[in-house]
């Protein structure tokens, strides 16, 4: 038994090491100046410029037009992450609610059509999507960044499965208690779905946060750049004898990791609490 425990711990430690090592390395490297990094590659000991790179990244305007700094990109990323996650949850809950609770013709066909779109990732429909957004004049807007992506087959599927497991009697009791469709949704279904919402929120936030291709297409105005694009932008300055600010790129990568980690940590405790308490 004890022996087994030690074995378990070794496996876990290895896993932790494997996951955390690159992050630590990035952090250490970010404390060296760009020239050192360029000359000697990744660093294994702390350098002498401390957290200067972070300050620079957050406050110094960079890019071509010099109108976007790290804080602006952080704001853009947060808007994209939250807009993406919240939009997906709202839309997929509404769709699942319609599919499960309203007997409209061909409800199950509708569901399977939505389900099939799971097989079609964004990349497949990226040209028509771009065309539509462009014609609607939503290029370089937050709406253009978020709205075309918020339909979610995954979310709809999970909420549908969850709603179907809610006992019918709950709906019937609510109907007798005078709750219409809207009240039943808000008063009963949404609170019951807390755990599901937390889980989907985590997944979708991180997914939205990490979006690269779509923002690259839709936002050409640097004022809309996200952190993920910002990293790329720092590395993209090969002009003449200039070398990229590797320290700043590392710093930005670390910064870009923090919000998703926070979201996971915060929502996870919620999520586990929901799981433990859950009863329908």
């Amino acid at each position: 038994m004890n022996k087994l425990r030690i074995g378990d711990h070794i496996v876990l430690l290895l896993g932790v090491f494997f996951m955390v090592f690159p992050v630590v390395l990035a952090f250490i490297t970010s404390t060296h100046d760009a020239v050192t990094v360029y000359r000697e590659g990744l660093q294994f000991g702390f350098g002498d410029q401390g957290l200067k790179a972070y300050e620079t990244v957050l406050t110094k305007a960079g890019g071509f037009t010099k109108e976007v700094n790290g804080l602006v990109m952080l704001k853009n990323s947060l808007i994209l992450g939250f807009g993406f996650a919240i939009g997906k949850i709202v839309i997929s809950m509404a769709a699942a609610y319609a599919i499960v609770y309203f007997r409209f013709p061909m409800a199950s066909l509708c569901f399977w059509v939505i389900f099939c779109t799971l097989l079609l990732p964004l990349e497949v429909r990226i040209l028509p999507s771009y065309e539509i957004v462009q014609r609607l004049g939503m290029v370089n807007t937050y709406a253009g960044l978020i709205v075309p992506l918020i339909a979610s087959a995954t979310g709809t599927f999970f909420f549908r499965q969850f709603f179907m497991s809610v006992p019918d009697e709950l709906l019937e009791a609510a109907r007798i208690d005078g709750a219409g469709p809207w009240k039943f949704f808000i008063d009963i279904l949404v609170p019951l779905s807390k755990t599901m919402i937390a889980a989907i929120f985590i997944i979708m936030f991180v997914y939205g946060w990490n979006q690269y291709l779509w923002p690259t297409l839709i936002t050409t105005d640097e004022g809309f750049f996200t952190l993920v694009r910002g990293i790329k932008q720092i590395l993209q300055v090969w002009v003449g004898a200039q070398i990229p600010d590797y320290d700043q790129a590392m710093a930005m990568a670390i910064l870009a990791m923090i919000p998703p980690v926070l979201i996971v940590v915060i929502f996870q405790s919620w999520f586990i609490k929901g799981l433990v308490e859950s009863d329908k």
């Binding site: 006992p167 009697e169 709950l170 019937e172 009791a173 609510a174 109907r175 007798i176 208690d177 005078g178 709750a179 009240k183 008063d187 009963i188 609170p191 019951l192 807390k194 308490e277 009863d279 329908k280």
Partner: protein
Amino acid sequence: MSNITLDQVRKVYAGNVEAVKGVSIDIADGEFIVLVGPSGCGKSTLLRMIAGLEDISSGEISIGDRVVNKVDPADRDIAMVFQNYALYPHMSVYKNLAYGLTNRGMPKSEIDRRVKEAADILEIGDYLDRKPRALSGGQRQRVAMGRAIVREPAAFLFDEPLSNLDAKLRVQMRVEIKRLQKELGTTSVYVTHDQLEAMTLADRLVVLNGGNIEQIGAPIAVYDKPASTFVASFIGSPAMNLIETVSDAGGLKAKAGTGLQGGNPGGLQACTVGIRPEHLQVVEAGTPVGDGLTLTVKVNVLEPVGAESYIYGTIDGGGAPVVIRIESHQTYDINAILTLHAAAKDVHYFDAETGRRIES
């Protein structure tokens, strides 16, 4: 007035399943009606039609002289208690009780008064802040009742509310439900497949079989004069002994086996006789039959249940099974042959074909 009238109510489910086949019942104000029958006989369907949770295929339901066929469940002025209680899991007990009232826009003070009052009646005052998951089955049951009571509706509808409780608690809650219903005087329709629950709770029983009413009546009247072999075998535990007979010059004889001799005062042809286990007396062999019935029965099993005992046997000569109630502590040998007698007034006659009661 909150009487409920069902007039030729039918329910046909998709796929042409006729679950309820033209049921008419007049339920008086304040009456406690129990719908009883075996699984799948349409009890829940009927109740859910009264509640408005199922559409009525044809016929008419009125509550308090208002036809409610097209009225929303919320507007029928009924409250329902479900088998699995259907409490809102994320709301405290207080909120569970208050929800229906809040939705109707009742002032806070009135809601508070009603909830407190119901909590007092049901002794759940200590749990008002708890979530349902932190309650025992019995307490949840009370909360479910409370949710019905606070509404002060025209009628309570119960769908097997006690079947998730253990045997002891079930008896306790049964008594409680009866007491409450009498106290509040609210018209109630109660669905169960447990004949004992049905007998003890009902002002009147409605025995359903395959979507049809077999019999309506006070429990004791149904017990004393079952209208058919179906009712006879369903109401009473252990069930009434039913034995197929044929008649000859000497009276009635068992169709199978040799151990039955009966008078035939009504001059019946072939019929099914019914005798309740408690109406069979063990007598000396050779006791005259008279207008009654004599059985000779081989003892198979003796089953003491405490206050009384039951003998399970078969009619001598390979006939039908028979149950006899005897006093506790009396014993008989297995395989002994007993002579049993039932008085004429305790013998029921049913048509051999239709199973309907033959009045003698």
